[in-house]
Symmetry: C2
Subunit: 217 residues, 2 copies
Amino acid sequence: MGQYVVIGLGRFGESVARTLSSLGHEVLVIDKSEEKVQEIADFVTTAIKADAQNEEFLRSVDIASYDAVVVAMAQSVEANILVNMLLKDLGVKYIVAKAQSKLHGEVLEKIGVNKIIYPEWDMGERVARALTMSHNILDYVEISPEHTIVEIAAPEEFVGKTLRQLDLRARCNISILAAKKGDNVVVAPGGEYIIDRGDILVAIGSYRDLRKLENKI
Amino acid sequence: MGQYVVIGLGRFGESVARTLSSLGHEVLVIDKSEEKVQEIADFVTTAIKADAQNEEFLRSVDIASYDAVVVAMAQSVEANILVNMLLKDLGVKYIVAKAQSKLHGEVLEKIGVNKIIYPEWDMGERVARALTMSHNILDYVEISPEHTIVEIAAPEEFVGKTLRQLDLRARCNISILAAKKGDNVVVAPGGEYIIDRGDILVAIGSYRDLRKLENKI
Ligand SMILES: Nc1ncnc2c1ncn2[C@@H]1O[C@H](COP(=O)(O)OP(=O)(O)OP(=O)(O)O)[C@@H](O)[C@H]1O
Ligand SMILES: Nc1ncnc2c1ncn2[C@@H]1O[C@H](COP(=O)(O)OP(=O)(O)OP(=O)(O)O)[C@@H](O)[C@H]1O
């Protein structure tokens, strides 16, 4: 299993740390707030109260030996940039950092941060797209300008029909990649698959066609 | 096309507004900061400087006639909750709101907000999962505890082989749902599909199997 460091326990950092832990990985979290460190201590491998700008401290935990470090403190752009520069200098193998703005992110790219995250920007795009599709859309991945994968709750009109009867590919250029009943998933369901009430369909098509589909119904 | 209102032009709100606009929908944005309103004015249908807690104002723009309202101001939990309550009372059809914390979100659910967004929490989960998979993972959707869809850059070892040769389904229970060369996407590629350098594969499998796959290579 992997070994990761998360610096900063804001909402983003805490979520990264808890998710990594729940997936079975080893997680060291660092935060300058005693309270935050105490709160998460039972849920991660190690939680240490420290200032991430302290080079001595980072060396003492052998930070370069980890698979990756996630820099999740972003309110102070200065502190974020300096910590990232320090990690780079210490030879950390892979750095993921949250950025406050596009300009901040550009600086991080220049200093060699491997992956830059803009949580609010990215979620804004996802939410906007999901909102315009349907209130049935549960998740959304854009594969290309012409292809989007969506998870959509099966509309009432589809219930009881087979995929062959619906003939989505011919009628509106949409393919059903998978169908989910509860936690049970059928990958690449055949034409004989019957849609039940409550099914979740994983569909691929263009944004325009997916929107047309749900305007028809 | 749809008609939407976005209240609050933080990073999340601005991203929602710009994305909705770029998708061709009508967008009214409301923010109490003159500067923010000016900055976005050319990119949306209408941008108005106003305080969203002002009921008179909301009635004057006929806010209940819109398809949905996105409440993207979340720094003041109090203001966020009160604006949401006001929108509900004014008969807004569908409300999406950003929440600061789980407790805040719980209140919003109780007052009838339709969809609650936790951008930092959700992105934290996505980033953690993508991080542990591979630095090749471009995007990630969890369909069920046993099925995840990932977009992954084709590893060197796959280049020049056909899907039949790789036999991923038999060897590690992974199906390739689509393959992308640049913007060109092949949905449900057949066994004869040859993987090129630079291809992006859209694969489905369990978290464990997808991780095993990329540990083998
Ligand atoms: N130099 C530092 N060393 C260690 N921890 C730090 C340092 N600076 C800030 N932190 C911690 O980082 C955490 C996140 O801080 P910050 O205010 O930057 O979050 P944020 O970007 O607003 O978070 P989010 O939006 O994810 O909730 C806080 O818990 C804070 O104590
Ligand atoms: N009562 C209000 N009426 C209108 N606009 C408001 C009101 N209160 C806050 N805003 C605006 O909402 C925007 C977002 O504010 P807020 O500080 O809540 O964002 P945030 O949640 O930190 O944003 P981000 O999406 O960047 O994380 C600001 O531009 C602010 O001017």
